[in-house]
């Protein structure tokens, strides 16, 4: 059992969730309600990581963030360290890969809030930000929670992109999914088995949590009141 790899994975997942939470709330709300030029394109781009092979995505990220790319050069100049084959690069890749998981469930939840409620909020004198906080979020939070749970679980299991962008540097980019592959390559089935079991347990609890949340969402946010 590679505890370091598990710790790294959890660390990566936590960062990804933390960075994607505001993106999930504001991005999903914008995609649900706002009308702007190129909305369809943005929607498509956000969904793209779902269908694109992780290696392809990883390849483009590698090229885009590499030391020879303009972005990579700016990053290196700013932080004195390259993005690829580093934890920061891994976080960046993970954020991009998880966009569909972070946005889509939240977007569905925002879309389920009747437009009349937002109009009523505005007519009640609530500014858009107040309406988000007092009306939209209380109604859409199960969707946002679902998005975050999915993002977390998906980050723990991500393999292709991590391998392409991060390589397998222990303590820096060697996540648990990579560690399992690594152990299998070394014919260490026992370690691979234990780690797989840990991931399996995490995945099952995630799915159960998501199911419970989506059930709650279908029932609506009204709780407790006897009928």
């Amino acid at each position: 059992m590679d505890w370091q790899a598990l710790g790294l994975s959890l660390h990566l997942a936590a960062w990804t969730v933390a960075l994607l939470l505001p993106v999930s709330v504001f991005g999903a709300r914008a995609l649900a309600f706002a009308t702007f030029r190129g909305k369809a394109l943005v929607g498509a781009l956000v969904t793209l990581p779902l269908v694109l092979p992780p290696t392809v995505l990883g390849f483009y990220l590698l090229v885009g963030m590499g030391a020879n790319s303009p972005f990579g050069q700016v990053w290196t100049a700013l932080f004195g360290q390259g993005l690829v084959f580093s934890f920061s690069g891994l976080v960046a890749a993970s954020v991009l890969v998880n966009l569909p998981f972070a946005i889509q469930p939240a977007q569905r939840a925002f879309e389920a809030v009747p437009p009349a409620l937002r109009e009523a909020a505005a007519c009640s004198g609530l500014s858009p930000l107040q309406a988000l906080w007092r009306v939209d979020l209380p109604l859409a939070w199960p969707g946002i929670m679902t998005a975050m749970v999915l993002t977390f679980a998906h980050t723990l299991g991500e393999f292709g992109v991590v391998l392409m962008v991060g390589g397998s540097i222990p303590g820096e980019t060697k996540t648990i999914a990579i560690a399992i592959y690594d152990r299998v390559q070394a014919f260490d089935d026992r370690s691979a088995g234990i780690m797989s079991l840990v991931l399996l347990a995490i995945s099952i609890s995630t799915i159960m949590a998501t199911l419970a949340l989506s059930q709650r969402m279908r029932r609506g946010p009204v709780q407790g009141a006897p009928r």
């Binding site: 009747p114 009349a116 409620l117 109009e119 009523a120 909020a121 505005a122 007519c123 009640s124 004198g125 609530l126 500014s127 858009p128 107040q130 309406a131 007092r134 009306v135 209380p138 109604l139 609506g220 946010p221 009204v222 009141a225 009928r227």
Partner: protein, 361 residues
């Protein structure tokens, strides 16, 4: 605190109208669905942007196309009641009302909200969520919420059309009772002529985004242009009557300026003033007081005007003292009887034309 509205829009929802509403006045926008009447309300609230518009209240400008000024909805002090209630489902009745009260201290807001809920007849329902309230109760919460921010304009968008008929009666009464304390201009959108006649001081008939006719209920209902939109069935007049006595045969005798009227027994004490609605198509005219006729109610009237309508009919405006009765007859009969302004004749009202549920104090 007069509300001034001037709207113009092209495109999918065409608009071209303007009106004013005085403080404390209720203006009804009446028209068929799709006529743009809800869009007018949404333009006032800033939920929809017309091509050219000026919306101002009490010297405050909310929208002015010429200076490119358009306040966002939350900065316009409106109270809006939606057809679909649009209550916040995650908050109880009290929470729905307090949320619209801005930044006052919590205790103060709750106190004011409780008072408002009591005013709309919902004392004891403060902790109920919308899902646990009936349609009528939800709309009462919505009215309380609309009043919560002490709005400069009250906007009612078909507020009763989703509520059951029996519940509506109570809501009308609540709204009537609130009128004495409502100092702001109120705009009511409805397709129900009866509702408009009961609740509004004035009405504007809208078709395809244009004001066809405006004025008091009586004025609008005499206007054939308005009737084209509203439908002839809606044409009718309102006259005042005073309950005199209850007769033995389950009829009530009412006194009008033109003489007695008999209607099915009303549950109102003698001396009560009533408004009677008389559908124009239930009025016949006769040159002499008819004899040998089953109709009980015959009033002497003077023809004020003959208004030709579309098709074979004409509308007669008949003077009854200060008041007016509308009669819908065919052009042929009018010609045959030699009807012209100034002619004294008799209006025969079918007894049942004075419908019981129209009797209002």
């Amino acid at each position: 605190m007069t509300l001034n509205v001037r709207l113009q829009a092209t495109g999918p929802i065409a608009l071209d109208l303007s009106f004013q509403v005085e403080p404390g006045e209720v203006l009804a926008l009446v028209g068929p669905s799709g006529s743009g009447k809800s869009t007018v309300l949404r333009s006032i609230a800033g939920l929809w942007t017309p091509t050219q518009a000026h919306v101002g209240v009490a010297g405050e400008v909310w929208h002015d196309s010429e200076t490119h000024l358009s306040l966002p909805t939350h900065q316009r002090k409106v109270g809006m009641v939606f057809q679909s209630y649009a209550l916040f489902p995650h908050l109880d009745a009290l929470g729905n009302v307090t949320l619209a009260m801005g930044d006052q201290p919590r205790a103060q807001r709750e106190k004011a909200a409780r008072a408002l809920l009591a005013r709309v007849g919902l004392s004891g329902f403060e902790a109920r969520r919308p899902a646990d309230l009936s349609g009528g109760q939800q709309q009462r919460v919505a009215i309380a919420r609309a009043l919560a921010r002490d709005p400069m304009v009250l906007l009612l968008d078909e507020p009763f059309s989703a509520v059951d008929r029996p519940m509506r009666e109570g809501l009308y009464e609540t709204l009537q009772s609130l009128r004495s304390v409502l100092a702001m201009p109120t705009v009511l959108v409805t397709h129900d002529m009866d509702e408009a006649q009961r609740l509004a001081d004035r009405m504007v008939v809208i078709e395809a985004g244009r004001a066809l006719s405006s004025g008091t209920a009586a004025e609008v209902l005499c206007d054939p242009r308005a009737l084209r939109t509203l439908g002839l069935r809606e044409a009718g007049s309102m006259i005042t009557a005073i309950v005199e006595a209850e007769e033995e045969d389950d009829l009530s005798r009412l006194r009008t300026v033109g003489g007695p009227l008999y209607v099915p027994k009303v549950s109102a004490a003698p001396g009560t003033r009533l408004r009677l609605r008389i559908p124009a198509h239930d009025v016949m005219i006769a040159l002499e007081r008819p004899v040998g006729l089953s109709a009980l109610n015959v009033l002497p009237v003077v023809v004020r005007a003959v208004v030709p309508g579309d098709g074979p009919g004409v509308m007669l405006r008949l003077g009854l003292g200060e008041e007016e009765i509308l009669a819908r007859v065919t052009q042929r009969s009018a010609r045959h009887l030699g009807v012209q302004p100034g002619l004294a004749c008799f209006a025969v009202l079918k007894s049942m034309a004075v419908a019981r549920d129209q009797l209002r104090t």
